[in-house]
Each structure stands twice: as structure tokens, then as C-alpha cells.
Amino acid sequence: MSDVLLDIKNLELRYGAAIAVRDISLSVRRGQLVAVIGNNGAGKSSMVRGATGLVCPSGGQVHFRGEDTTGLSADRKVSRGLVMVPEGRLLFPDQTVEDNLILGAYLRGGLKHQASRSALERVIGLFPRLKERLHQQAGSMSGGEQQMLAIARGLMAQPELLIIDELSLGLAPKIVDQLMRALTTLNKEGLTILLVEQLASHALAIADYGFVIANGRIAREGPSSVLSRDPEVMEAFLGKKKSTISTPKPKE
């Protein structure tokens, strides 16, 4: 079982009296790109918060790299290699792009280490747009560039697993395609990715495996090629109407 990187078992999460996550079991293997889809309020973001340690789960376990990390705080998890790109980006808007990136490497000792400097070079290579804007305030960039920066900042922590919550939020179709392609590239280079996404068609197109969350539970799971042909999933998330926007080609 050593190739299971993240293993969530029977996760339960409450906010006061309200149950956000009832019972979610989900595992991500090393090298996989896993998609999680579901309606608003189904419990996707809460699941992410429970897995990353932003909220302490009220039940169940979260194992990362074989160790029990339930209840471990988010910053400790980051230092172990579990990094999240939060919903809505949450950049440090008044700081420059470069500062945002350096802060991403905070737990890796900033830019003092060779590893962080090469990570910086890598993310700039992946998103050349950021290089042009290194000294610009993060908050002054367009939505697409901000999302690139959010991902890049996550990568600066040199994660083993990158969890991305709502990649496509507020982005033009062309940019979504670009970012989806960037994720595919990162995944091919060996990064394990858990993508939580509303644009189910896009997410399933690049993922190996998918989970559907409904009412705080896993409603369906399977290889993404199977899921995207599942009639119920198609009706609920892929739309009855034929999509007129471009869809990235499935991963070969």
C-alpha cells in the first residue's frame, strides 16, 4: 500500500450542529490525477478543509504517506508535502508576485535553499506570464494570472500532493484550457494532484480517476473515462446540451 499517498477514511465534519461531510472515504495514489466533482453544498470544500487540516474533522482518519495525520494542523501538513491551492485563490494581494512565490516556500526556508530557487525557476518556466509580472502587485493582475500565481505559490512549497479547489472559478474558457494543460504537464512530471472542480467535463477529461460527492458522501467513483459515460453523472454534471466550448483532449 506504499503507493497510496493520501488515504481518507470515513471522514466526518461538522460546523456546529450542521454536518458538512457525513462519511467520505477516498484515496489518491502516487502519480495520479484525481478529480472530485459535486454540487454546491455537497461537501467538496469541507472535505478539502478536513483533509488539509484547516478544519479538524469530527470523525474518521486522514493518512498521508502512510502516517496518521488526522488533526494535524495545516502548516505541519504543508511541511510534509500536502499543499492546497485554496478556492478563490487567497493571494496576498498587496505583495508582489515574487513575494507571493517566496512566501509559498516559507516552510522550505524561503529562497535560501537551492531547491527553492530551482522550484522558482520551474514555476516561472511553467507560467511565463508570471515572469513578466514578478514585481507587480498580485492583486492588480487579471483573474487568470492570479490563478496561475496561486498554483505557482503552491508549487513553491515543493508538494508531493497538490490539492486544487475550484481551478476554473471566474476564468475565461481559453485560460481554463491553459491551466488544465499545465496540470497535465505537472502530473506527467510526477506531481500527484487532487482537483476539486465544478467544470466536471474538463476535470474528468484530464483526470485518471474521479469521485462524485453528494450530500456529504461519495456517490460514485471510478476511472474518469467510465464516470464520464455514466448516464447519471452525465445528466447531473455534464449537461444535456452539447457543449459549445472547447474541451481539452483526454490524456493519452
Partner: protein, 595 residues
């Protein structure tokens, strides 16, 4: 829950009536009267701290102003206590307006510094203006309190103080549950959203400052009469800190919290006298301990614990709601609301975010605005809604010039908007958010709010029913009582739509309403927008979901690099090579075969 507050007032009245009967000696009664005076200050300051979220560390200055005004009027002009109170209220109220003025420019800690400065100035003037204030020796031989020439006995004066504090607490409770309390809370959470809903943040902050000043001023006059002697060293900075502590310790924003806080901080020093040299240490340590154990103040924390235990409030009854048709429909002849933007140019530094953009949203039309990220869509939205000023060009709604008007005026003219990153009033309930959106349609004033007149109640109930109806319209009925911030992101967007609609707009500006929604939810949104347009409200839709735009829009305008590159019907836009190049990325034909 509904009976908790009335029960509290009943208990409060009983205690106030019982104390003089049980007081052991004159000293005990005097100490209690001192508490009543501090209570008045705390209750008034609570409006500022608990509702508008502003901090004042200059209350001792206002207290001193009231005290000196009352004392001078009584000693020099022989006014009775009622006239003195009115004089003090006017003087300190005027200074309250003056103090509110800096809030237009400074916030948070900076504002606290401004109020500290004010307190220092008042203290210094009291010392130096000897001819009026008696300098450091202060003013003595203030006459015993009298009303219309009749001298008040100790017990009668107690009665005056007790009734005043009771009435202040009651009036401020009434203020809190009226449109004023609601919008003050709203302003403290998002000033941007408040302006977009036509709520005037400056006016509300000024009102809060005036309430806090008038109560402190009246309390000051009572203090002068109680003590029959005042001097500058009674009104120091540390007193200001103590008044603020009363509010925070008791629970900012709660009805009785400040009263409890005032009680504790009046009596605590008395009890701690047994520690002698360590008295101040014990005082500080105790405060530290209480605030650590009860982070939201005494009543605030108990309330939170109580809310967790008791069953949830019943969800507002859907049947109570007014149908949106009644709430929103404009008269047929008004269906012309037309937004015309002509040649708008906006520059940031040397950069043109918009250059020469013209756009026309016809009455009852759904007009989509699309373009790559960074094309200037958000700038356009912020410009027509009055958050940015255009460098060139102008825009009008229904023939009324919008350029140069403030965002809140534009909102009142009938332009409502939502925000890309949602700007909800997070701590308010879902229902209260929509009710705050309805505020510009309420017409009752301050006096009616304080007295809860029938008209106020009628308008409030109408506002509530309209809000319930709107929540049903956007499918959030079952979330009515929850805090807005606890809603999932996608539902927060729907709540923003309901809140924007509550003001009965002529034109609704939706900034990426479908972001973060699944296909099914987008279908619901599509139906919702159609119904909104069907009610005669023009819609300007900024969106990335191409399916939604193609299904809904009558006209699509495309922006790229701050310029309009195309404006036409959806079918033509989809085949425009420039739009495909700038926005879609791949040609639609290819995408169809790929999908």
C-alpha cells in the same frame, strides 16, 4: 428566543426597583447610582462598538463635555437638571458629529488614535480654560438636582437615573432591531456592498457617533449633579479605556452586555480594595482571565453557547413570503430602463483599462459582456456602478446621468449589482442580508424606529415578507436563519442576486453569477435570469459560461484589451474570428467534434 429580550427587560426593571429598597446605606446607593451613570455611557458606546464596529477611546472627553456643560449651566445660569441634560446632549452631540467626520478617511486603529487625541484635547481645555472651567480645581458647589424648581431627594434622583438608563437601553434595543441596526451591522462588514445597495455608510456612522456622544453627555450631567463637584482628573484617558472595556467585557452588540460590563467595572475596584497594593494587578489579571475564558464578552459568549444548545429558530415560513412578481414588477410603461454608456475611457496610471467603450442595454434586454480575463470587464462594471470615475465619456440610466454620482446614489436610481468575489454581510443571517438590500425602499425614520410606531412595524413586516419571497425565488428558503458566511460559495452567489433584487432595480448587473456552479445549477440560474428579465428588469451579464450566454443573451458585447471588439447577437459572435481568437481559444466547430 422571542421572549428572551422582553424577559430581560422585565428582570432589569425589577432589579432597578428593588435596589433602593435593599440598599444598606447611603454610600451603597450612591455607588449603584454611579453604576447607572456608567451604564448609560456603555449602552450608548455599544451602538458604536457593537453595531458599526468602530472603536472610540475618547468617551471620557464626551463625558467631560456633558459634565462641564451641565455644571456650568446649573451654576451660572441656574438651569434645572432637565435643561442641563438637553444642553449637554446638544453640545456633546455636536462634538460627536465632529468626531464622526474623520471616519470618512480613517478606520480601525487609526480612528482610535483620533478619538484618543480628542479626549486629550478636552482634558487639556478643561485644565487651561480657567475662567470657564475653574482649571485644575474644577467646579464645585453644583446645586442639588432639581426639576422645575422642585429639589429632588436622593431617592427621587435615583429614580431619574434608573428610568433614564432603562429607557436608553430600551431605545437602543429598538434601534438595533430596526433598519438602522441592520444597516449599521451591514456597513461594518462590507462598506462596498452597502454602497452598492444604496446604504449610506457615512450617515450611519455619524448617527452611531451621535448616539454614543449624546448618551455620554447626558451621563456627564448626571455625574456632575451626583458628585456636586467635578475636576479634569475625573475624565482621563484611563476612564475612556474603562468605558470601552465595559462594552467589550459585557459583550459588544448584545442588549444587556454593556450594562453588565458597567456593573462589574464599577464594583470590581471596590471589592479589590482588600488586595491593597496588589489591587491594580488583581484588576488586570481578572480582566485577562475573563476575556480569555469568554472571548466575546460575558453575554456574547453565553449567547453563543445558548444558541448551540437550543433548537434552531424555525425557518421563515415560505407562505409568509410575498411573490416576487408583487415585489419586483415594474409598471409596463416603465419597461424602458435603458443603460447607455458612451465612449467610456478609464486609465490607471498610464494604463488604459477601458478605451472608448460604448454599450447600450435596451429595456428588458439580457445583454452579455464577455472577454478574456483582464479585458476590462470588471473595470466597466465598477465604472457604471460608480465605484470608479471614468476619465472620459459618460453613462446614463433611463436618461438620468450617472457619471459623477456616488455609487449609493446610482444604486438608488435603480442600478443593482452583484460582486465577482461575493461581498455578503457574512455575520448577518441570509434573510437579514436580503432585508438590508430592501433598505432603500423603507421610508420610516429614526424617531419611528426608536418608538417602534405602527408604520415602522408595518414596513418592517413588508420588508421581511418581500425578503422571504426573494429567498424562495433564488431557492434559499431553508437557509434563512443561517449566517451568510456559512453558505457554500455557489449559494452565496444566489444570495447576492436576491439581495440585489430586493431594492427593486431597473437594471441588474450580474458579475459572473455562474462561476463555481455545476451544469445543473447553471440551468437553474438560466431559468432565474429569464424570470428576472420577464419582470421588466434589464440584465447586464458578465460571464464566462458560454452555454449560458448563448442560451440567454439577446446581445453579446466582447471586450479585449479594454476595447469593444464585437457586439452582436450570440450566433454572430460565436462565429466571429476575432472573438474566437481572443476568447474561445479554439474554433467552436472543432470543439463540437471534440466534445
Amino acid at each position: 428566543m422571542r421572549y428572551l429580550i422582553p424577559l430581560g427587560f422585565f428582570a432589569f426593571a425589577l432589579i432597578l426597583a428593588a435596589v433602593p429598597l435593599m440598599a444598606a446605606n447611603e454610600y451603597a446607593l450612591r455607588l449603584f447610582m454611579l453604576f447607572l451613570i456608567y451604564g448609560m455611557i456603555a449602552v450608548g458606546l455599544n451602538v458604536l462598538v457593537g453595531l458599526t464596529g468602530l472603536v472610540s477611546l475618547g468617551q471620557a472627553g464626551l463625558f467631560a463635555l456633558g459634565s462641564y456643560t451641565g455644571a456650568i449651566l446649573a451654576t451660572r445660569l441656574g438651569f434645572d437638571i432637565v435643561a442641563c441634560c438637553i444642553g449637554a446632549a446638544i453640545v456633546s452631540g455636536a462634538f460627536g458629529v465632529l468626531l464622526a467626520y474623520p471616519t470618512m478617511r480613517v478606520k480601525g486603529v487609526y480612528l482610535a488614535v483620533v478619538t484618543i487625541a480628542f479626549g486629550i484635547i478636552v482634558e487639556n481645555v478643561a485644565i487651561e480654560w480657567q475662567s470657564l472651567t475653574g482649571g485644575t480645581t474644577g467646579l464645585s458647589s453644583i446645586p442639588r438636582p432639581n426639576v422645575f424648581g422642585i429639589k429632588l431627594s436622593g431617592f427621587a434622583f435615583y429614580g431619574v437615573l434608573a428610568v433614564t438608563l432603562f429607557v436608553f437601553t430600551l431605545l437602543i434595543q429598538n434601534l438595533k432591531i430596526s433598519r438602522y441596526g441592520r444597516t449599521m451591522l451591514a456597513v461594518s462588514q462590507s462598506e462596498t456592498a452597502s454602497r452598492a445597495l444604496g446604504i449610506n455608510p457615512t450617515g450611519l456612522r455619524m448617527l452611531a457617533f451621535v448616539v454614543a456622544s449624546v448618551t455620554a453627555g447626558i451621563a456627564g450631567t448626571f455625574y456632575a449633579f451626583l458628585n456636586s463637584y467635578i475636576s479634569p482628573d475625573i475624565f482621563t484617558f484611563s476612564d475612556s479605556v474603562r468605558f470601552l472595556l465595559m462594552v467589550i467585557l459585557g459583550g459588544a452588540g448584545s442588549t444587556f452586555g454593556p450594562v453588565i460590563g458597567a456593573y462589574i467595572l464599577t464594583y470590581l475596584p471596590e471589592y479589590l480594595q482588600q488586595f491593597q497594593l496588589w489591587q491594580k494587578f488583581a484588576y488586570g489579571a481578572l480582566l485577562l482571565l475573563v476575556m480569555f475564558a469568554l472571548p466575546r464578552g460575558i453575554l456574547g459568549t453565553f449567547r453563543l453557547a445558548f444558541d448551540r444548545l437550543r433548537p434552531a429558530d424555525p425557518i421563515p415560513d415560505v407562505a409568509e413570503g410575498l411573490p416576487v412578481e408583487t415585489t419586483l414588477r415594474h409598471k409596463k410603461e416603465m419597461w424602458t430602463a435603458e443603460l447607455v454608456a458612451s465612449a467610456l475611457t478609464v486609465r490607471f496610471g498610464g494604463l488604459s483599462a477601458l478605451s472608448n467603450v460604448s454599450l447600450r442595454v435596451k429595456g428588458g434586454e439580457i445583454h452579455a459582456l464577455i472577454g478574456p480575463n483582464g479585458a476590462g470587464k470588471s473595470t466597466f462594471v465598477n465604472t457604471i456602478s460608480g465605484f470608479y470615475r471614468p476619465d472620459e465619456g459618460r453613462c446614463e440610466l433611463d436618461g438620468v446621468e450617472l457619471t459623477g454620482r456616488r455609487s449609493l446614489e446610482i444604486a438608488r436610481l435603480g442600478l443593482a449589482r452583484t460582486f465577482q468575489n461575493t461581498e455578503l454581510f457574512g455575520e448577518l443571517s441570509v434573510l437579514e442580508n436580503v432585508m438590508a438590500g430592501y433598505d432603500q425602499r423603507l421610508s420610516y425614520g429614526l424617531l419611528q424606529a426608536l418608538l417602534r410606531t405602527p408604520r415602522m412595524r408595518r414596513e418592517e413586516s413588508e420588508c421581511r415578507r418581500a425578503a422571504i419571497g426573494l429567498l424562495g425565488f433564488v431557492g434559499l428558503s431553508q437557509y434563512g436563519n443561517e449566517a451568510a458566511r456559512s453558505l457554500p460559495f455557489g449559494l452565496q452567489r444566489r444570495l447576492e442576486i436576491a439581495r440585489a433584487l430586493a431594492g427593486k432595480p431597473r437594471l441588474l448587473l450580474l458579475d459572473e453569477p455562474a462561476a463555481g456552479l455545476t451544469t445543473q445549477e447553471i440551468d437553474d440560474l438560466e431559468a432565474m435570469i429569464r424570470r428576472i428579465a420577464g419582470l421588466g428588469i434589464s440584465v447586464l451579464l458578465v460571464e464566462h459560461h458560454v452555454d449560458l450566454i448563448m442560451a440567454l443573451a439577446d446581445t453579446v458585447t466582447v471586450l479585449d484589451y479594454g476595447e469593444v471588439i464585437a457586439s452582436d447577437n450570440p450566433a454572430a459572435i460565436q462565429n466571429d474570428p476575432r472573438v474566437i481568437e481572443a476568447y474561445f481559444g479554439t474554433s467552436p466547430e472543432r470543439a463540437e467534434t471534440a466534445a
